[in-house]
Symmetry: C2
Subunit: 418 residues, 2 copies
């Protein structure tokens, strides 16, 4: 016997009285989730058996989901016996989609992910945004978003929500408190983007969510990475170093949404001064600038992903300075990650962003520090692996998070399209 | 309008069919939780209004809860108008209770917490357990537990479950994988305690849970600390240093239950060698032995809490070596905690265990490192405070966790007593 928990929304009024929320909303969500998490397209009868709903209810709910372009029927299964074969149900690839956006130090990105999780559009535009004002950077981003929207419309998709990744600390209401490497402080992103409608408004789906880039990169990895990794630390190595912590499939955001600043874990407390005002922060030993400097490429002013590719080329060619630089960075990273694993007891560490193409050289020193410093390493090793999506993970993670909201609460979307 | 979620257990059989779980179980839990979380004893009518259940249902459920000694009626309120005053309902102080046990390096402890959260019995017995075999240590603990049980029975309480705190890594099924400062490795605690029935068996309440001491100390703080601190880092400074992480009122246990090893965060990666095989671990700079050595008390072989009291006396008297030792320990602790706060974005750090009586001297250097090293410190300071319970927190936290299980699932207890 397996116990499951079914949750039911109940709306409580200010007078303290309670009324049952719409049963239809609950049934829509239960049936859609069953379809979304299936190994193979389930039939209406299978959904009824698994959820405890009657077959008539399931049929009515499925009709609504198909009419709303959330669900489609699979090709009929081959006849295996008497009667008409049952048609399997799957998520629709021509309904709502999520828009993922990213502003980073040296590029802008926009991507579209449909309900099935497929990336339908993805554009990255190089641009050094450090000398550009936030308003101008967001104007450029809005143009990229408009292109993505047009591409989505051409494919029959409707953008139902957008998520913007920013390499910084994001407060409530999308205020970017601090993005040190972009030079942003207290930038009210939603206000600056207000003149650019990004998506169709859908009840229950926020039109724009602004989120830390490393957090969204971790969600991108959850979306695209190997199945079964529901708890992991995702470390994005760029000019700054950010981490996303996923626990049981859910992003851990911290008390104020500011978790993941792994770049400012002190690894040599009396060591190099850091921009943040601290001293000996990981970023000063394993950030991209530190690696480039140690490899003799200081001042080359390469875009972040070009820099990673260049370092990978040099390391593959056996350049001694680059190999030493990567070994030292990996050791510093391993020291910080060992502390994290001792504290949080995670069994998987994903090297993402600019670290992904360098994982071949970073992994051995990281592994060495973990073996040496993690109390439980002897009987329960930690897996260190490169990210599935690399530097493009944040935009995909943002778009996927929109899609997940629609699957969790389909009623808002159906009210719009119905 | 405030939205709440009501959860309902549904039991799924292996055939895939689903039947509705007992509505009575759900109603018992909903009503008991309403009573447990109330600011003042609510009446049956208030519970009906708040939960959406009918008054007849609430009355029947409350009758069951009173008969099962989970709920009691408060003294009648003074008459304020016409009619009989409604009687408020509160948790019963004469029904089930939790047994909290602790084995530590130099003491054993047992305590009893009743359903209202009151500590009804608490005994600590000094003993250096390092030279003692695990079996002998657990035999002594069982005698302490039997005394606690007799005391509970004399007060009309029934022990419904026990939780044992151990300063080490605990695996599934209560196997202590490693408790370095006790010298335990792969100790099967439940098997060794099998000859000593600790509690009355109750359906749904595990008779014995073995858990890391620092984790339970954090739960003790959640239970006894100021209201409103639902997310915090609790650091227990003993011979080892352990941390408990509470997120939104729930203990974070890690992927394998081994979280919280803050003592092995590297603070000086090329520094002092550590027992764990690593180098420069926090424990070597801020653990009790390091502080005693720096204060000129090395080899004094004081029991852990005596040592903390002795250090506090010396510091209060202005002993320069002790003040320097505490300042240096606080700085090392601040470096490690700054990394944790950067990573997890917590706003409260509780100094527990042996750190509690030393908090007056440890806090300033910890605060200084946090101000300097936490990226968000400028606009969102972190509160550092001593634990409410100090070194006795783990046993209380363990007993309180039993009580919480009963409140969450009262049906098992009622089936036993009914």
């Amino acid at each position: 016997m397996a116990a499951v928990w079914q949750c039911q929304a109940v709306t409580s009024t200010s007078t303290g009285a309670v009324r049952q929320g719409s049963l239809r909303q609950l049934n829509l969500a239960v049936v859609l989730r069953r379809i979304a998490t299936a190994d193979r397209p389930p039939s209406r009868a299978e959904i009824a058996a698994d959820t405890g709903l009657t077959r008539a209810t399931v049929s009515a709910v499925v009709d609504d989901l198909i009419a709303g372009r959330l669900v489609a029927e699979a090709e009929p299964a081959p006849r295996t016996g008497a009667g008409r074969p049952a048609r399997g149900l799957l998520l629709a690839g021509d309904g709502p989609a999520g828009l993922g956006l990213e502003v980073n130090v040296d590029y802008l990105a926009a991507c579209v992910v449909d309900l099935t999780g497929a990336v339908r559009h993805h554009v990255v535009r190089r641009a050094d945004l450090r000398p550009v004002s936030p308003a101008d950077a967001l104007d450029r981003l809005a143009r990229l978003a408009a292109e993505a929207r047009a591409a989505a419309v051409r494919e029959g998709l409707t953008l139902a929500g957008a998520t913007l990744a920013v390499p910084g600390l994001v407060g409530a209401d999308g205020l970017v408190r601090l993005a040190p490497n972009l030079g942003w402080r207290d930038v009210a992103v939603p206000a600056l983007l207000a003149g650019h409608p990004l998506v169709e408004p859908v009840d229950g789906i926020p039109p724009l969510v602004v989120e830390n880039e490393a957090n969204l990169a971790a969600l991108g990895e959850l979306h695209a990475g190997p199945p079964g990794s529901a708890s992991f630390l995702h470390v994005s190595g760029e000019i700054g170093i950010g981490a996303g912590i996923v626990l049981d499939g859910v992003l851990y955001r911290g008390v104020r949404g500011w978790s993941g600043e792994i770049g400012h874990i002190p690894v040599h407390p009396t060591g190099r001064p850091c921009r943040c005002g601290g001293q000996g922060c990981l970023e000063r030993y394993a950030g991209q600038e530190a690696i480039l400097t140690a490899a003799g490429l200081a001042g080359a002013d390469l875009p972040a992903d070009t820099a990673a590719a260049r370092l990978a080329d040099l390391a593959a060619a056996g350049d001694p300075a680059t190999l030493t630089a990567l070994a030292d960075a990996g050791t510093a990273l391993g020291v910080a990650v060992a502390g994290v694993v001792n504290l949080l007891d995670l069994d998987t560490v994903v090297l993402g962003g600019g670290y992904a193409p360098l994982a071949r050289w970073l992994r051995p020193p990281v592994d060495a520090e973990l073996s040496r410093r993690v109390l439980t390493a002897a009987w329960s090793p930690v897996t260190v692996r490169p990210a599935a999506l690399g530097a493009r993970s944040a935009a995909v993670g943002g778009a996927a998070s929109v899609v997940r909201r629609i699957v969790d609460r389909p009623a808002g979307w159906l009210a719009r399209s119905g």
